[in-house]
Symmetry: C2
């Protein structure tokens, strides 16, 4: 009997499929490919598969207890950790794909510059077909960054800001373990000490019970009025109401949110109209970059070899911690 | 009799004034400071000055033949070169301040990412309080840049794109002299060979008779439909009508213009409404960055020492060539 892999993904090219065929063959597996319009076919196939490579809570719910490894093509796996009943097999391995650092970091560079260079205001000038260029702009060079999350995203952000001449880059992580991309890494328990002098706060945290409303009303009040807040992790990490109030009252210089709570944001939500706020519809980790897709497939193939050989998986998620 | 310097600038801090006082004293000069609301006072003082540090064609016109050096605090000196009669002294030295590379390069990084990441389109989605995140985005990483102008701006742009993983950076300059920031530098006479494979074309050229409508209808037609055009030099370097036509017809992916012809752009100008065009009101070289102002003053002080000692001036402009 063959050992089967169900692959239910939209972004694969012919070259990616060939690459997976080869890796699967070497590991003693047979891959079965489905696109997103083939849900029923994927579901039927999944009933006799040992491995699933996809991003679909709906499909995962149909998997039998025989599923031993679910490789999620996304980085954020909160939907799979919040509700353990989604797995028929309680010991099913879960890996995520931490390959979005490059594209998300480019998004962070973009919105950082848009905030520092007053683009929300200049875009108003341009929409009015007006001409005024006296707004004071600020620079990445000689500026300071505070980055919550020192994983793939945080490191890629730090490297780019360093390359553009940032004066100081502070990281915060659960462990506080040093990393060469940061001048200092503090444990996140020291967040309150760091906020009063933060200039640009970048949030790249997973959605877990420990990060829910991490930036709450009290912490937003600790930030200086000249600070900017950028969130590319999970919307739930910020209490949005005090954030809006601070923006509208000028107690924060600006913010850029690619993630919100809930998504999509309802039409009547007041966040749409907050002052100096750049909203984007959860696009920072967009899958359309060739580099992101290539790395996604490479990571799966490498972990397939690890899995077949009984070695630890690089992308392994602790299903209890949520990352 | 004292040797006098007339300084007519808005951005100086007390620290800058002290720095200039010190450099002037060491060089045997006396500086006289005026802000932009003191035109008459500056004009009276200028009548007995050997040096003027300002950016004001109006004030320069009032200078007598005794003026020997005009240090312009801006990088673009086309207003002073197009009409030589602006100088009473035909041999008056002209220097410019090439200190805008950092801030202009940050602007170029911002608009490059805004174009590659489809921000003009996503901003429409957000303005409609809608939610759609399926537009394909592109990346600076592994992308290619063609930069017209290999001076202070071009080099700062090239360095930032390299730091973010650009695959290939081609420069074009009058001389074609190699520079380590670029993979290759071609003489601008070979522009037509380069355009058909250009991905992101960044224009950072001075406004001279040689750059007028350099990107004309024929050259715009040479660009691939997937190309982006970014101009931070002078608006006159692009023939705007064929550029608009190409954008509106989808024969170009997008453009970002910080400079236009004329400026301010008249209310009725069709450029305001061109498709996938990011307009900014000539803000890329904004003087409000501390770094830019500090470097401006440093360069003036260094050249004042050079001037007093009879050495060549670092910022010297060839008034005939215009840069």
């Amino acid at each position: 009997m063959s050992r089967d892999i169900c692959i239910y993904l939209e972004f694969l090219t012919d070259a990616h499929r060939a690459q997976i065929e080869k890796a699967a063959g070497a590991a003693g597996f047979v891959p079965h490919f489905f696109t997103l319009d083939q849900f029923e076919e994927a579901k039927d196939c999944l009933q006799h598969c040992e491995v699933l490579y996809a991003h679909s809570p709906e499909l995962l719910r149909t998997a039998p207890a025989g599923l031993k490894w679910y490789c999620c093509s996304f980085a954020g796996v909160d939907p799979y950790c919040k509700d353990p009943s989604i797995f028929a097999n309680p010991d099913c391995l879960l890996t995520n794909s931490n390959v979005y650092g490059v594209t998300i970091a480019e998004h962070v560079v973009m919105v950082t510059l848009m905030l520092l260079r007053r683009m929300p205001e200049y875009e108003e000038v341009i929409r009015a077909k007006s001409w005024s260029n006296q707004l004071a702009v600020r620079s990445i060079r000689d500026n300071e960054f505070t980055i919550l999350g020192t994983g793939n995203i945080g490191v890629n952000v730090a490297e780019r800001m360093r390359g553009m001449g940032a004066a100081k880059i502070t990281g915060l992580s659960r462990s506080g373990r040093p990393h060469p991309a940061f001048d200092t890494v503090y444990p996140i328990s020291r967040l309150d000490e760091v906020l009063p002098t933060a200039s640009i706060l970048v949030m790249a945290l997973p959605g877990t019970s420990g990060t829910f409303h991490l930036l709450d009303r009290a912490r937003i009040a600790l930030l200086p009025a000249s600070a900017y807040v950028i969130n590319v992790g999970r919307g739930s990490a910020i209490d949005q109401e005090p954030l809006m109030e601070a923006l509208n009252a000028g107690r924060l210089a600006g913010a850029a949110l690619d993630v919100m709570d809930p998504e999509p944001l309802p039409k009547e939500h007041p966040l749409w109209n907050a002052r100096n706020l750049i909203l984007t519809p959860h696009v920072s980790g967009n899958m359309t970059l060739g580099y992101t897709c290539d790395t996604n497939v490479e990571m799966f193939c490498a972990d397939l070899a690890n899995y077949a050989a009984g070695r630890p998986l690089r992308g392994l998620v602790n299903r209890k911690l949520g990352y």
